[in-house]
């Protein structure tokens, strides 16, 4: 089995248009949640979220590209560009033929779908844009990253709701670890902050009224965000031969299914995934210093996740730092694990643990060190990233310092 390292990272999300700005915001504990701004927002009862601020598609892409790129694809391309640039790789010859892309998304080209339905149902038009299908399909972002960078190996999209990014990164990890691909571009993207997207989520009645307060007493639910994160995963020997800057090692990955309820999380399923990731990474639980929690801010998730961590880590749970960066960038659904992996890399590389902001008071149901409100300096040798999706899909990644 090959060892797998991260040699590039990129993002665009509500906290910033790149990795440097995002990590700076996490360090400051800045919350990007605010009033939503899009058509018909006044017909929604949920009017807060985290949009990418000041985003101007026309400044990034030309007219022909925009005819083909949904916002979800645009975000993925921006994040992948940054990650690949940082890695210093350019893909040609055999490297291009064997390297690929695995991206996660829950809803793909949601804005294209929403706008097209509006045109035919509300405005009574009988025609939609000719590129509607290639624009809205869930694999569009992955396809365009592959085309842009000439990645000709395995490429596909993973959709497992809120665990999509972690599943995608785990798949890319496996492809490199098994020797099938020397390099994989991976991560996830989501863009469904529009009338139809929020209207559907309203129905579940789990959305917060004020802001996202994971693990805090007085939390009222989740808040939606948008954006993308991307990473270059590379076979360690390959990276070392070319003298690449190694950001972290992806040491393990595990997936489980609750096989119980379509929305309610399971302590047992989550704990099994956490234990599985530790085992796969060959990590003793005492070696883990930080867990980037799924931490959605719903009563059910936060309570269940803390119980699962206590089960999996035993007495060491009391010495763990556990934070939810969703308190800052909100819940990017299929893109969330990718943006959250940036906080994991910051912990093991820079010794800085991102906080859980908007924290008002400890919840007795969440009796862990949730790094409330302020980032913390700490030496972290290994860290986990949790993702627990609707459907009972659990995916946990384990990273080590390089």
């Amino acid at each position: 089995m090959k060892r797998v390292v991260v040699t590039g990272a990129g993002t665009i999300n509500p906290l910033g248009p790149d990795v440097a700005a995002t990590l700076a915001a996490m360090r400051e504990g800045r919350c990007a949640i605010g009033p939503l701004d899009f058509r018909d927002v006044d017909r929604l009862s949920v009017r807060i979220g985290a949009q990418v601020p000041g985003y101007d598609p026309a400044a990034r892409f030309d007219r022909q590209q925009l005819a083909l790129y949904d916002r979800c694809t645009q975000f993925a391309l921006i994040a992948a560009e940054e990650a690949i640039a940082q890695s210093g790789l350019s893909f040609d010859g055999e490297l291009a033929e064997r390297s690929g892309v695995v991206l996660g998304t829950s809803d793909g080209g949601h804005n294209t779908r929403d706008e097209s339905y509006r045109a035919v149902y509300e405005e009574g038009k009988n025609r939609v844009h000719p590129f509607t299908v290639p624009k809205l399909m869930n694999n569009a972002a992955c396809a365009h990253v592959s085309m842009r960078h000439d990645l000709r190996g395995p490429s596909y999209t993973v959709a497992s709701a809120c665990a999509s990014s972690n599943h995608a990164i785990g798949q890319a990890f496996w492809l490199v670890r098994s020797g099938l691909a020397p390099v994989m571009v991976t991560g996830g993207s989501e863009a469904m902050l529009n009338f139809g997207g929020i209207k559907a989520w309203e129905g579940l009645r789990v959305m917060a009224r004020d802001t996202c307060r994971p693990f805090s007493l007085g939390r009222t639910g989740m808040v939606q965000g948008e954006g993308a994160g991307a990473f270059v995963l590379e076979e360690r020997e390959h990276a070392m031969r070319r003298g690449a800057d190694i950001l972290a090692e992806v040491a393990g990955f595990a997936m489980t299914s609750d096989a119980s309820d379509i929305v309610m999380p399971s302590r047992e399923g989550a704990a099994r995934a956490i234990r599985g990731a530790l085992r796969d990474a060959g990590l003793d639980r005492s070696e883990v210093g930080y867990v980037n929690a799924h931490g959605t801010g719903t009563a059910a998730n936060d309570r269940t996740e803390c119980a699962a961590l206590a089960d999996a880590f035993g007495a060491h749970a009391d010495r763990l730092m556990v934070s939810s960066t969703k308190s800052m960038h909100a819940h990017l659904i299929g893109g969330t694990g990718a943006v959250e992996l940036l906080a994991v890399i910051m912990a093991v590389r820079d010794g800085l643990v991102a906080p859980t902001v908007n924290h008002e008071a400890p919840d007795p149901d969440c009796p862990l060190d949730v790094v409330p409100n302020e980032a913390r300096e700490a030496k972290v040798g290994a860290a986990l990233s949790n993702a627990f999706a609707f459907g009972g899909h659990n995916a946990v990644l384990a990273l080590r310092a390089a």
């Binding site: 009645r205 789990v206 379509i262 929305v263 009563a299």
Partner: protein
């Protein structure tokens, strides 16, 4: 007609519980009827649609919502109150 609101609400809950409305009593809880959290959210949606009202309810913390869901009778009473409040005299 308040009694009509009560019987329509009871019918909505009975449909979720796969029971005859006549088998649903005011002193029963949602748990007694086998209505779980998803079925509750669906019931509230059906109530909102049937009476054209907004029901204040957050699934994160159902007990803390203003909408009393402690029993079938309490729900019927709360719906009557909301209809009166939001639609004028019922």
């Amino acid at each position: 007609m308040p009694s009509d609101i009560r019987s329509r609400t009871r019918t909505i809950l009975a449909e979720q519980a796969l029971l005859n409305p006549s088998d649903v009593a005011d002193d029963q809880s949602l748990q007694d009827l086998g209505i779980d959290s998803l079925a509750l959210v669906e019931s509230i949606f059906a109530i909102e649609e049937a009476f054209d009202i907004q029901v204040p309810f957050n699934a994160n913390d159902p007990q803390a919502s203003e909408f009393d869901i402690s029993s079938v009778g309490a729900i019927c009473g709360a719906v009557e109150h909301l209809v009166r409040e939001q639609k004028g005299a019922a």
